[in-house]
């Protein structure tokens, strides 16, 4: 009695092995410890369920030998009632066992998820922004999901099956060891067959997965690029290409089905052979008078009951291995050290005046590769410092060090004369505002997103901040106004609108030091004007560091730092730097590149570069 294609479900999971299985199991068990009463309950229930599985065929045998063959109808009635009770108790025990095991599993999973979340909040940006971290994070989601499916599906079934097997073996051996041997002799064959099929099926299903991946990637790509395909007359070629990946997927599926469809009949064949074995040996023993018919019938039931749990355990083992490997990666993450930590004697920062000083600051993600070299400069309270330079020059690194998202490799970052490493991170960051190019909005209302800048702000203060940031008007026009949802990552708003919200957030936070990464992307002109005006208001009266892309910003800055390949190569005001005629002047000219002076229209050329 197996579902069709029971193999496919497990063959679809990639097999993985943990490096150190025992250690992982040990740690998982440690996590289970708080739920030991639930665990004991669960084990008790599973024992009852197993006992009922071992008992019921025996009772059927008794019914045949003791009552049916003797014609004792009343006795038969009694034993059938007993049999029903045993079944029902077994079923309930099994059900509650599954619930109890799941409860343990889900609690454990929730705890693990929380621990991971807490951990990630504390990990250094240096790690989180690395490419390797991106991979780890995306795996982490899958890992937690693998653990989830292990705990919800596999664990309860596996424990149940193992106990059932134990119960069945005990019952069989107790009743008749010879017949028991006849049943058990098939077990190695069964395991080998299952194993062989699993391997075949996994290979076959891997093929179906890669081919369907190609089909859907192809489909998606061609659908989104259909305009280009039409424009370049490629539609026929694309159809041919799709036809071939499509055919490959069809063949892979047919092949996988061919493999898996053979599995159940093979199992049935084995169980039939085993039954034949039991019937032959049992028959012989009955004829020679050493055994009763009822016992043989009971053993035929045992054979049937025995096969299923063995298969379950064999198949679930793959799932369990993957789950252990997943758990191992989760534990690896949990064991990581956060790099930016408060010093034990860190003091809370007082109200920041805004005096910032970098003293020979060097920083590298890797020890031998400096991203920032010996950077020194000073900013006085209220000044605006513009940072310019080619992509990858080290601009973002410089401002990240200021906010102490990373710790310097050498040198010092001083705020109001105090080393940032001696200050509590929380007190430092609460006085710093950061507005990035791609501001991150959280799903929730506009109101909640602005209030993120200062959680205890009143509604009135939020409105005021939005007004200062020129965001009030567009928010009021949005459906739902301030109560309108922004969508996941703010995707219901345009990029410009997201920026205005982020600026409102910064206005509300009223930071003493502001870090601003100007957007390079094209935003429609009207919003752009709103953003520029809002930023001017935001910059006023606080020390500001701007990664600048706009001419107006650099022109108004008190100091422009030009960074190239990790070094501050030029510094001064816009005018001074233009006179210098170095990298800055060069960058500046290119940014406002115009192809050629217009001579045809006869209009005086507005500018020339």
């Amino acid at each position: 009695m197996h579902g069709p294609g029971g193999m496919g479900r497990f063959a679809n999971i990639e097999a993985e092995k943990p490096r150190n299985r025992n250690r992982v199991i040990y740690r998982l068990l440690k996590l289970v410890l708080p739920y030991k009463w639930l665990l004991i309950l669960s084990l008790g229930l599973v024992t009852i369920s197993a006992a009922s599985q071992g008992l019921s065929p025996y009772l059927i045998g008794r019914a045949i030998d003791g009552f049916i063959s003797k014609g004792d109808a009343a006795g038969l009635g009694r034993i059938i009632v007993v049999l029903m009770v045993v079944y029902i108790v077994g079923m309930f025990a099994n059900r509650y066992q599954i619930i109890a095991t799941n409860q343990i599993g889900q609690n454990l999973l929730a705890e693990l998820r929380l621990e991971v979340f807490v951990k990630i909040q504390s990990l250094s940006l240096q790690f989180l922004e690395s490419k390797q971290a991106g991979e780890i994070m995306s795996r982490l989601v899958n890992d937690i999901e693998a653990l989830n499916s292990f705990f919800t599906q596999a664990l309860a079934q596996m424990i149940g099956s193992i106990f059932s097997l134990a119960g069945l073996v005990v019952a069989m051996v107790a009743i008749d060891w010879q017949l028991a041997l006849a049943v058990l002799v098939m077990v190695p064959v069964l395991l080998l067959t299952t194993n062989w099929f699993s391997k075949m099926a996994r290979t076959a299903f891997r093929k179906t997965r890669t081919t369907i991946g190609e089909v859907s990637a192809n489909l998606e790509e061609e659908l989104s690029g259909v305009k280009v395909a039409q424009a370049f007359n490629r539609t026929d070629a694309n159809v041919r290409r799709f036809a071939s990946v499509n055919a490959a997927n069809r063949d892979a599926n047919v092949n996988a089905m061919a493999v898996t469809s053979a599995f159940m009949p093979a199992m049935d064949l084995l169980s039939t052979i085993d039954m034949g074995l039991v019937a032959a040996l049992g028959g012989y023993l009955v004829i020679s008078g050493r055994l009763s018919v009822g016992i043989v019938v009971a053993f035929l039931q045992y054979v049937q009951n025995f096969f299923r749990p063995i298969q379950t355990v064999a198949q679930m083992w793959t799932l369990a291995q993957s789950a252990f490997a997943a758990a191992e990666r989760v534990f690896d993450l949990l064991d990581m050290d956060p790099t930016v930590q408060d010093a034990p004697d860190a003091i809370p920062a007082a109200r920041i005046e805004g005096f910032v000083r970098f003293e020979d600051v060097s920083f590298g993600y890797e020890k031998d590769e400096m991203v920032l070299c010996q950077a020194s400069f000073e900013a006085k309270p209220g000044q605006t410092i513009a940072i310019v330079g080619p992509t990858g020059a080290g601009k973002s690194t410089l401002v990240s060090l200021l906010a102490r998202l990373y710790d310097v490799t050498s040198g010092r970052v001083l705020i109001d004369g105090k080393n940032v490493r001696s200050l509590q991170q929380r007190s430092l960051r609460s006085q710093m505002g950061i507005v990035t190019q791609e501001p991150f909005l959280f799903s929730g209302t506009v109101m909640e997103n602005i209030r993120y800048g200062r959680l205890n702000a009143t509604d009135e203060e939020v409105y005021e901040a939005a007004k200062t940031a020129n965001a009030f008007d567009f928010i009021s026009r949005q459906p739902g106004g301030f109560k309108g949802e922004v969508g996941e990552r703010g995707r219901l708003l345009s990029q410009g609108q997201r920026q205005l919200i982020a600026i409102s957030r910064a206005v509300l936070a009223d930071p003493r030091i502001l870090i601003l990464d100007e957007a390079t992307a094209s935003i429609d002109t009207q919003t752009e004007v709103l953003i520029q005006k809002a930023l001017q208001k935001l910059l006023a009266g606080r020390t500001s560091f701007v990664i600048a892309h706009r001419l107006s910003t650099v022109r108004n800055a008190d100091l422009v730092l030009v960074i190239d390949q990790g070094e501050i190569v030029e510094r001064g005001t816009h005018k001074e730097l233009m006179k210098m005629g170095g990298l800055y002047a060069d960058l500046y000219n290119r940014q406002f590149y115009q192809p050629e002076a217009d001579t045809r229209t006869g209009i005086p050329v507005l500018f020339s570069t």
């Binding site: 001419l551 406002f592 192809p595």
Partner: protein, 328 residues
């Protein structure tokens, strides 16, 4: 029940055992029928949607015996063109007429949603006009073979679509049989060669999901190379550049300028320099052509133009003024 029958001699013990076996085989199919029923109704609904797609007719088709276009000179005429999307009751373009002579650059200017994109979609016949006609070299586009028409039109838009495959395949997308020398030449002209050869596999580097990631600016330059390789007579482009640094922007603009030379070009203009250098500016507002002429002409006579210049380029105009002051 069976037990009683055996005792009453109506059933043998063997038959009873057999029946216990039957019971198992009997229940399974009953469960299955239940599962299959719901799957069946879902399949029916899905099949219906798929058949709808398969049965949909393409509106843009070659006429029987449509002429194969020979190499175009590049003359494009819109003759009282009105366009609306099928099933909509509002015209996207209304009664638009203009002529582009060979090698002219036509800048199309207008607010978002004014109908700029519709104009450029009609030239390669992505859609057919609702009224009026479009002529290339005096032939109605509906009378010519679509493939031969599109072969001579290059398109470079801001939203760059590349396909998974190698860089070479992507550049040669419109001419799959192009020689590698031609591909490299196109890439060089598009300022793309430099970064391509820095990739581990150069022109054979895979791009897309499983390949190397390219920045927005790099993708754009590959798209330019792709259009260049086609050597089209008519070019349709969008001169905006998305999130790139100044250096890259400079390169892209240079590549676009090169691409534009010697072809009839339609530009959805985002840059003041494009507008100023255009031979003809089409000013579109709510689907209507409200102004036509050069920058100078429009500045003198057309209020909407001045208005749009101010909103679209207002901020930049300020900077330009600032630069001028600087230079002096």
């Amino acid at each position: 029940m069976g037990g009683l029958q055996v005792m009453g001699q109506q059933l043998t013990l063997g038959e009873l055992v057999a029946f216990i076996g039957y019971q198992g085989f009997f229940l399974m199919p009953i469960f299955m029928v239940g599962f299959i029923g719901s799957a069946l109704s879902r399949a029916e609904a899905s099949a219906q949607r798929i058949f709808e797609v398969i049965d949909a007719e393409s509106d843009v088709k070659d006429k029987p015996g449509a002429a194969i276009l020979s190499r175009l000179k590049g003359d494009v005429v819109f003759d009282n063109v009105t366009f609306r999307y099928a099933g909509m009751d509002q015209n996207v373009l209304e009664d638009v007429s203009f002529e582009a002579t060979p090698n002219q650059t036509i800048a199309i200017l207008g607010k978002t949603g004014s109908g700029k994109t519709s104009i450029i979609n009609l030239i390669p016949r992505f859609y057919d006009v609702t009224k009026g006609r479009i002529l290339v070299d005096n032939l109605d586009v509906r009378d010519v073979n679509i493939e031969s028409l599109r072969k001579q039109i290059g398109i470079v838009l801001q939203e760059t679509t590349l396909f998974s495959g190698t860089i070479r395949e992507n550049i040669a997308y419109g001419r799959p049989d192009a020689r590698i020398d031609d591909v490299i030449a196109a890439a060089k002209a598009a300022q793309a060669h430099e970064f391509i050869v820095e990739l581990p596999e150069a022109y054979d580097a895979l791009i897309g999901e499983r390949g190397v990631g390219l920045s927005g600016g790099q993708k754009q330059r590959i798209a330019i190379a792709r259009a260049l390789l086609l050597n089209p007579r008519i070019l349709i482009m969008d001169d905006s550049t998305s999130s790139v640094d100044a250096e890259t922007e400079y390169k892209i603009q240079q590549a676009l300028d090169l691409l534009r030379q010697g072809r009839t070009t339609f530009v959805i203009a985002q840059r003041i320099s494009t507008v100023r250098n255009a031979d003809q500016i089409l000013l579109i507002d709510q689907g209507k052509l409200v102004g036509k002429g050069t920058h100078t002409e429009l500045l003198k006579c057309c209020e909407t133009y001045v208005e749009i210049m101010e909103t679209q380029f207002g901020e930049r105009a300020e900077w330009l003024a600032a630069v001028e002051e600087e230079v002096q």
